[in-house]
Symmetry: C2
Subunit: 407 residues, 2 copies
C-alpha cells in the first residue's frame, strides 16, 4: 500500500467538481459534485440522532433500497435539517436535476448538506449550481481538491487523502474527503465523508467494511460532544480496477479494509485536529483494557471532557481532570492501578502511577503539552485490549465561532 | 413556609466559622466548620465517579456505618482526590483533631475538600485551621455566611439560603449552603452542599428525603458535563425544633421534603447561574413527556450541549442546536411534533413548531436571550410528565478560568 496524491477523484472513473452557487456563503465555492463514469455499489452509515436532516433520510433510502449509486451532490452553508416536507422536496429536486444533466437515474444520486440547521435552501441556486458542476467535472487531483474545499464550513483545512494498494494482482485506488469541525461527536459516522474506490467488491462486503471501520475511525472523534443531525459517510466502489469481485472475507477483503482504514483514520485525525478553534490534536490511547468496549468508553470520555480540553489549551499538565473523566466514563477499573503518560514530539513522561502523581517535572510536562499533536496514554493493567480516540483542545476560538455562528 | 435570612447556622443549635488556613489560597478564608451542639442524624449522597476523593470515602463510611454526625470540616483550594493512602490519612487526622478540640467522637466529623485534584494537603495547616475555627464558631447569620464564602473556589457568589416551616405545630428551620462552579455535572449530588435542620426526623427518613430530592435538584444541574471526584451533599438534622420525630411518610414528612426542596433547588439554580464564566442561567423545561425519565434525558442533553451554551452566550436564537441536542439525548420522540419556546423577563415566544421554524422575530428572540435568566421550554406532546434542568452559557470566561487553573 502506498500513499498517492489526490482524493475522491483519484480512483479510475471518478470525477469531481466544485461551484460557487451562493447557497449561503458569498465569494467561495459551496457546492461539490462527485460522479463515477460507471455505476457503483454504495455503502453508507448515518447519524444516530433521531432528528435527521432531509439528505440523511434521502441517502439512507438509497443505501438500504438499492445499494448502488453513481453521483453525489453536496452543498455547504445550509444543513437542510429541521426543514420539514419542504426540505425533503429539495433533496428530490436536487437528485432529479442531477439525474437529468448527468443522464443517470435520480435514485442513484446522493444528496448531502452541511451548515446552519433550520433554514430552507433556495432550489433555484442548487439547480444553477448543478449545471455549473456538470460542465466542470473531471478526473483529476485538482477536481478532487476543489470538491474537498467546497464542502468546508468552519473547517480551516481541506481534508483528503488517497492510497494505492493491490487486490488480486491488480492495482486498486481508494480516496476520500471529509469535512467536520463543530457539532462533531459522531455516533454512526462523521459529519460528511465521501470515500471512492475502483476496487470491485459486492455491496454486502462494502457495507460490512464501512460499518466495521467507522467504529475505529469516525466514531472515535469528538470535537464538542454534539452529535450532528447530518452525519453521513458514503463509500462508492465502481470496480474499474478489474480485480476479481470481493464477495467474502478473504485476503483481498482484508487488504481492502486496511486501505479503507488508512483513509478513514487519516480523515478522522484531520477532523479532530481541525476542530473548531483547535490549536492541538489530542489523541487518547487506552491500553491494558479487559475488553475493547471498556477501552472505548474511557478514551471517548477523556477526549470529550471540557476540562481536559481547556487544560490542553493552556498546556497545563492538570492530569487530575483526566483521571476524573476516566472515572465518570461508566467503565469499571481500579484508579490505584493506572499509569498515565503524556507524549508528543517533545518527549514522553510518566505522570501518574500507583494512585498518586509520579515524580515528573512540570516544566517538561508543559513543553510536551505545547506541541500541536499530543498523545495521552492510560494503561489500566487489566488485559490486552485498547482503543484510540481523537479530539482537540477547547479554546477562545471555539467560543468566537459558536457564540454567533449564524450571523 | 417562609424564607428567612441566614444559612447553615440558622437552625437551632448549629454553629459555623471560617478561617484563613493557607491551604492553597492566600489572603482569604479557605476553611469552614459546621457544628451542632447536639448530635445529628445525618444523610449524604456522593459522586458516582469511580475516582472518588478521599473525603468522599471518609464521609460515605460515616453515613453508611453510623448515620449520625456532629460536625463537618471543609477546605477549599485542594480537592484531596487522587492522593492515595496519604490523602485518606489526612481525612483521619483532620477528624481526629476536630474531635479533640470539639470534644466529640472523630467518627462523627465529616471532612470535605474542593479544589485542585492530585495535590497533597499540608496537615499542619489544617490542624492550625481547626484550632482557629473552634475558637470562632457561633450561631449567627454572619457565621453561616462566612462559612459559605470560605468553601468557594471559582465561584463568584456565596450560595446560601434558609427557610422556616411548621412541623407538628412547632417551628422548624432548614438552611443550606453549597459551592460549585466548574466540573459540575453531578450524578449523585453536587460538588459540595451542606444542609442543616433542627427538625426531628429518623435517619432512614432523612436519607430517603435527600436521596429522592437530589434527583430533582442537584442532579439536574450541569455546568460542563464533568462529574467531579468530590461531589458531596450532606444533610444534618439535630431535632432541636421539638417536633414529634418523623419516622414515616406522613404529612410532616411531606412538609419537610417541600422545605428541603426549597433549599436544594435554590442552591442548584444558584450553582448553575454561577457556573464558571457564566453570564446567564439557562433553565430547560421539558413538558408533555410520556414519563419523567424521558423528560430528564432530553432536558439534561440540551442543558449540557456546548453548542446550545455558546449560542446562549451570543444571544443567538440558534434553535436548531436545541433540536439537535434533544435528538441525540437517547430519548424517543417525534421531532415534527415539538413546540419550542424561549422565555425570559423580556417576554415569551414560540420558536419552532410542526417541524419547522415558527414565524418569530429574530430581534425579539435576541432581546429575550439577552436577559440573565433564560428558560427554554420544549413541549413534546406525548403525555403529562416533565423535568427541569439548570445550566449556563459557555463563554470566554470559562476558557480563561480553565486553561490555566492550577497556576
Amino acid at each position: 500500500m502506498k500513499k498517492i496524491t489526490g482524493g475522491v477523484a483519484s480512483p479510475r472513473g471518478f470525477e469531481a467538481a466544485s461551484a460557487a452557487a451562493g447557497i449561503k456563503y458569498r465569494d467561495r465555492d459551496d457546492m461539490a459534485l462527485l460522479y463515477s463514469s460507471s455505476p457503483c455499489v454504495a455503502a453508507g452509515t448515518f447519524t444516530s440522532n433521531i432528528v435527521k436532516a432531509a439528505p440523511v433520510v434521502w441517502d439512507r433510502n438509497i443505501v438500504e433500497t438499492y445499494g448502488t449509486a453513481q453521483a453525489a451532490v453536496i452543498n455547504s452553508g445550509i444543513a437542510n435539517a429541521c426543514t420539514g416536507k419542504e426540505g425533503y422536496d429539495i433533496c428530490r429536486k436536487t437528485a432529479d436535476e442531477a439525474g437529468k444533466v448527468l443522464h443517470i437515474d435520480p435514485d442513484k444520486v446522493f444528496v448531502a448538506s452541511t451548515g446552519v440547521i433550520g433554514m430552507q435552501i433556495d432550489i433555484d441556486r442548487v439547480i444553477n449550481g448543478i449545471q455549473i458542476l456538470s460542465g466542470k467535472k473531471e478526473h483529476s487531483d485538482k477536481a478532487g481538491s476543489d470538491a474537498a474545499s467546497a464542502i468546508m464550513t468552519t473547517d480551516t483545512k481541506r481534508k483528503e487523502t488517497a492510497f494505492e494498494f493491490e487486490l488480486d494482482g491488480k492495482k486498486a485506488i481508494i480516496g476520500g474527503m471529509c469535512k467536520g469541525s463543530g457539532m462533531i461527536h459522531p455516533n454512526m459516522c462523521t459529519m460528511l465523508a465521501f470515500i471512492t474506490t475502483d476496487a470491485a467488491i459486492s455491496k454486502e462486503m462494502l457495507q460490512k467494511a464501512l460499518r466495521d471501520d467507522v467504529k475505529d475511525s469516525f466514531n472515535m472523534v469528538s470535537v464538542d460532544g454534539d452529535t450532528s443531525t447530518n452525519d453521513t459517510a458514503l463509500l462508492l466502489a465502481n470496480g474499474l480496477a478489474g480485480n476479481a469481485e470481493i464477495t467474502e472475507e478473504n485476503a483481498d477483503y482484508h487488504s481492502f479494509c486496511l486501505a479503507l482504514h488508512e483513509v478513514t483514520s487519516f480523515l478522522a485525525r484531520s477532523m479532530a485536529g481541525d476542530g473548531e478553534g483547535a490549536t492541538a490534536l489530542l489523541e487518547v490511547k487506552v491500553t491494558g483494557a479487559a475488553d475493547k468496549a471498556q477501552a472505548v468508553l474511557i478514551a471517548k470520555s477523556v477526549v470529550s471532557s471540557n476540562l481536559v480540553k481547556t487544560a490542553i489549551a493552556g498546556h497545563d499538565a492538570n492530569w487530575g481532570r483526566i483521571l476524573c473523566a476516566m472515572g465518570y466514563s461508566g467503565a469499571e477499573f481500579d484508579p490505584e492501578n493506572v499509569d498515565l503518560f503524556f507524549e508528543s514530539a517533545a518527549g514522553r513522561i510518566l505522570i501518574f502511577s500507583q494512585g498518586t502523581a509520579a515524580g515528573y517535572s512540570e516544566e517538561e510536562a508543559t513543553k510536551i503539552l505545547s506541541e500541536p499533536e499530543i498523545t495521552v496514554t492510560a494503561d489500566i493493567h487489566m488485559g490486552d485490549a485498547g482503543a484510540t480516540a481523537w479530539g482537540c483542545d477547547l479554546t477562545h476560538g471555539y467560543i468566537n465561532i459558536n457564540a454567533d455562528y449564524r450571523s
